[in-house]
């Protein structure tokens, strides 16, 4: 589910802005670290869960306004360089502010311990994350499918020129899309923190997976990203049961396969 969340955010950004956002993993990490700081400040997990992703969204706004905005016409290589540079800066800032040591963050007291599901014992917090992520995905999807602004955004993915010809401020659209994508990354990070613990490197792996999800789902295909995220999560678990070491590598194999055979993604129509 987390993969779906990350994939959705990245798909939004790559779809609407057509930019490979290499800083997506770093945004994920910032979300997690902001959560920890918030909890340290307020002592309340739930407040932090709200504030942290908002913080990342604001960061996204700033990034888009200050930098990404100028890069729409530039080639992918420069966009990559820029977002990668951003990722480096964010990563190092995390180390400067929070130190290089891994941090542990416990789930809120309400969600500790596990649930006996009969066939397996499953941690409560993970169930919560699944539900929460699912909810967010649903909400995002509803926003995109059912609201007017969401429709504009989807149109922006399909045909930017048309949208701006219709008189809609395409730049504002991009900014919102980026901020929304950042928000999703941030909340994914915040949710993950109690599961995986925090370390400055935490964004790097997530970045790879996010790109795989996007590739699998089809660039800009938001529903596809969701489906792909779920699929990858399941596939990883299945492979892990037989060949644990390969569970990470297998998703790249799948990614390569899909890109070759069906680049529009499993659900794509393009």
């Amino acid at each position: 589910m987390l993969y779906a969340l990350m994939g959705l955010g990245l798909s939004l950004i790559t779809g609407v802005l057509n930019i490979p956002n290499f800083a997506h993993g770093a945004l994920f990490a910032v979300g997690a670290y902001l959560l920890v700081s918030c909890i340290n400040l307020t002592g309340n997990f739930w407040i932090a869960l709200l504030v942290a992703p908002l913080g990342v969204a604001i960061l996204g706004l700033v990034i888009e306004y200050a930098g990404v905005r100028r890069l729409y016409a530039a080639g992918h290589d420069y966009q990559l360089l820029f977002t990668f540079g951003l990722a480096l800066i964010l990563n190092e800032l995390i180390i400067v502010i929070w130190g290089p040591v891994g941090i542990s963050q416990l789930p809120p007291a309400l969600l500790r311990g596990g649930v006996d599901l009969g066939f397996t014992f499953y941690p409560k917090y993970r169930l919560f994350v699944m539900v929460m992520a699912g909810l967010l995905v649903l909400l995002t999807w509803l926003f995109l499918e059912r609201t007017r602004y969401g429709a504009i955004m989807r149109a922006g993915i399909e045909n930017k020129e048309m949208v701006s010809l219709l008189g809609i401020d395409i730049h504002r659209l991009f900014t919102v899309a980026f901020a929304l994508g950042a928000f999703l990354a941030g909340i994914a990070g915040a949710l993950t923190a109690p599961i995986r613990g925090l370390s400055p490197q935490m964004g790097v792996d997530m970045l790879g997976i996010a790109f795989v999800v996007v590739a699998l789902g089809g660039l800009g295909n938001l529903l596809g990203a969701i489906a792909a995220g779920l699929l990858i999560g399941v596939a990883q678990a299945v492979v892990a049961a037989y060949w644990t070491e390969a569970s990470t590598a297998v998703i790249f194999a799948v990614m390569a396969l899909v890109l070759l055979v069906r680049p529009q993604g499993i659900l794509g129509i393009r």
């Binding site: 180390i95 130190g99 891994g102 542990s104 599961i195 370390s199 990883q236 892990a240 644990t244």
Partner: protein
Amino acid sequence: MKRRAILKAGAATAALGFPAIIRAQQKEVVILGLWDQTGAFADVGPLNDRGMRMALEERDMKILGRPVKYVTRDGATQAGTSTRRAEEAIDGEGARFMIGPWSSGVALAVSEVAKRKKVLHLFSGGTEDISGSRCHRYSFQWAASPYTAAKTVVDNFMKANPKAKRWHLLVADYAFGWSVEKYIKEVGKAHGLEFVGADRHPLGEREFSNYVQKAAANRPDVVAMINFGGDAVAGAREIFNFGLTPKVPLIMSWSSGVEELIQLAPEIRENMWVGTNFYYTADTPVAKEFVKNYRAKFKTPPGYAPSASYSMTRLMLAGFDKAKSVEVEAVIKALEGIEVNDLLGRMRVDGATHQTLRPYFFLRCKPKKAMKEELDLADVIATGDTPLPKEYAACKDIGGF
């Protein structure tokens, strides 16, 4: 602070270029600490640095009347980067004595550099190859032999839990993991243990849910982890989250002690058994003094990382003292067979393999109600120092200079 950075920048620019002859003063003894500031062990590097610095400062940065220049390099927990930077420090700064790095796999590569450049190299880690199949005259292993560690852990655990025959292993997938795994299985044979599973995970892994579920499916009596630092913490946490522990005891076979344990909540530590190269309640005069000073400076007691670098530095300095010389060959000869009563108690360096023979600690973590204070994490229930039996010794000839 700023001025120092500028000076350092200037020094760095100079360091990149001018040959050692111009810069290293003739009398200086240059000692290199290869400690990671980035990469998988980025959090350990600073700790190592602390211990080494403390040991050197105890001597006022002087040895045998000469000033000591302590330089550090970030190996980035990568073999390529570490060997490059080590060579640069040796050629550029004139370092003749090297301690580190932390990762056993990387250390094997660095050990090659030590051999090629003929510099003294001390290392603490879980691979047996440095005092085994890859042994040579210039490298010394401070950590207990993985055999000693495995024997201490398995023997003492079985004494307390004689019925726990089904073991599931979770192993870090590199040199250190492989060595310890091998010996746990060896020693386990004598206890009639059945290894129902042994999964390997990459160094730096944080997503353990799949591994844990697989472990649970095997219905083990014990889960033994052979990993370290962040990996161990993440693993222990997941094993607890999925309800495997505390029903099933969890062994951390090669832990850093305090540094890992404080990251885990007391509930997680219940029924945890820990093997470590050093625990801060060790009852030796040197340890007591060291722990006191470390706590005064850094608030928390020292774990394996700073203690290892501290002890290795002291061992090296003892070598200087014994040799009454700062020539690499003389110090090496002095270290071979040296016996000290130091941080861990009685420690001896085997001249034939360059392996340090010393106690390995086995602890049992305390449940929350038994903890007298926040840092009263565990009791040392045993130490073991059985050296590697001759038939396993892979170091047939330590070689010459």
